[in-house]
């Protein structure tokens, strides 16, 4: 599913190119929640920010953080992927995600359609090994743990742990054959 945030904002009568403040974040979240009612299990939901210049940390906290936490819901998990994120929005998302992860001891990261400033396809705090996995899957689309372990020069067991964590964070996918793929 692709959700055009500018359109959602217009539906709520927000005409500005900036999505700022908690109340607007809360209203957008409620609007997007309505759309998510029809998604399937493990579906990729693309949040398209085309036409949006700024999203501030209050909006990010009320909208994006909640959406990502919701995507981890065991009853109906899905994946979130961002598209058309502006430079300042990327800076703000990265700051909020890093703070959240650091102080909450729960990693929060999101996959992006475009290459970001970290020279990869995610925003948020990932380790060097985790970044390598995202990059590898982006190029190769899917892989088994053994292949990733080879690339990382790590034991398979340790690699599997990292992969499972990334899967729980909803930044990589896993099928029933334990093949991992990019979101």
């Amino acid at each position: 599913m692709i959700i055009n945030i500018r359109q959602c904002a217009k539906d709520l009568k927000y005409k500005n190119p900036d999505l700022i403040t908690r109340p607007i974040g809360r209203n957008l979240f409620a609007k997007v929640l309505e759309k998510l009612a029809i998604i399937g299990l493990h579906e990729i939901v693309i949040i398209d920010f085309e036409g949006i210049k700024v999203i501030d940390s209050s909006f990010i906290d009320e909208f994006l953080v909640r959406l990502i936490l919701l995507s981890r819901d065991e009853k109906k998990p899905f994946y979130v992927k961002l598209r058309n994120i502006s430079e300042s929005a990327e800076i703000n998302i990265d700051l909020v995600f890093k703070s959240y992860s650091h102080y909450n001891n729960k990693k929060i990261v999101v996959i992006s359609d475009e290459l970001r400033h970290n020279n990869s396809y995610f925003i948020g705090p990932l380790t060097g090994a985790e970044k390598q996995i995202i990059d590898f899957l982006k190029i190769n689309k899917s892989a088994r743990v053994s292949e990733i372990a080879d690339i990382l020069s790590l034991p398979e067991e340790e690699t599997m742990e990292i992969m499972e964590q990334l899967f729980e964070t909803r930044v990589i996918r896993k099928d029933t054959q334990a093949i991992f793929s990019v979101v």
Partner: protein, 288 residues
């Protein structure tokens, strides 16, 4: 009471805080010595006047205002707030024109303390800022810097209705001091202050009021929810832009000079035991 010429920056203005508060209800405030007034001093003077008006029901009268100061304060809509009276209005022929040149400012704007109204006003301020960003940020122009300032304005204004329990004011201006071009954004209120806001949050431990201010803008603590990223994000943006930030709340202040940062830690100054000044006053500057 005659005000000394100490409205050129936030540090000088400290001397004025106590003296204005001690002015009697009937006394006039004489501005004849002022040669310059920048946005932080202007908004602080406004808050001092508003506090007085609320406490006594009486307005202070500003007298002997030098022409250039009178022109500036009028241009900035300072008198539209209705906080002060003057000995004489500015003659129309001296009014500053609202030309492109004078678009290097955001006039004094009241930020309400109610969520719905405030969100509307913040949207209006951002719209005005975007239209004038080319003039205000003339020396720093880049789309990303404009966008980052949008975040800063939004976050600081939200703190007013989220935490201060009072309304506040915003103002912004680019001006020249000596050889420096300065852009200054000021957002101030006379609410319960940072310490008052954290009164019920016993798990937040601090060793002095200034230390609490420092924590509020270097870690994502919040008085209302699990985390609050606003001040923390503002601080990170100011650091990214190599600017400076001054936060004063009640009787303490923190100054972070990222423009003077060498290798390692930024220059950060914590001050306690200042004269009590209700609320939180924040000044952010970039200089070039």
């Amino acid at each position: 009471m005659i005000i000394d010429d100490k409205c050129k920056d936030q540090f000088n203005f400290e001397d004025i805080i106590g003296s204005v508060e001690s002015v009697g209800a009937e006394q006039d405030i004489d501005l004849s010595r002022l040669t310059f007034i920048e946005p932080y001093s202007m908004l602080s003077l406004l808050l001092l006047g508003r506090n007085h008006l609320r406490n006594t029901g009486e307005k202070h009268r500003l007298v002997n205002i030098p022409l250039s100061i009178h022109q500036y304060l009028t241009r900035m809509d300072f008198f539209h707030t209705g906080v002060f009276e003057t000995d004489r209005p500015l003659d129309e022929k001296f009014l500053l024109k609202r030309s492109a040149f004078s678009k290097r400012v955001i006039e004094v704007t009241e930020i309400p303390n109610k969520e719905r109204e405030s969100v509307k006003v913040i949207g209006g301020v951002i719209e005005k800022f975007r239209k004038r960003a080319g003039f205000i940020l003339k020396n720093w122009i880049s789309e990303t810097i404009t966008d980052l300032f949008v975040t800063v304005i939004s976050e600081l204004c939200q703190n007013i209705f989220e935490h201060s329990l009072d309304s506040g004011y915003l103002s912004m201006q680019t001006y020249t001091a000596g050889k420096e071009n300065i852009v200054r954004l000021v957002i101030s209120d006379s609410g319960i202050g940072i310490r008052g806001s954290f009164d019920q949050k016993k798990e937040v431990i601090y060793d002095s009021p200034a230390n609490l201010i420092e924590k509020a803008f270097t870690t994502p603590i919040s008085s209302k929810r699990e985390f609050g990223y606003g001040l923390c994000e503002v601080n990170a943006i100011v650091e990214m832009l190599k600017g400076s930030i001054f936060i004063r709340s009640a009787n303490a202040s923190v100054t972070a000079l990222y423009n003077k940062k060498n290798k390692g830690q930024p220059l950060m100054f914590l001050k306690n035991d200042l004269k009590n000044f209700r609320g939180t006053q924040i000044s952010i500057s970039l200089s070039y």
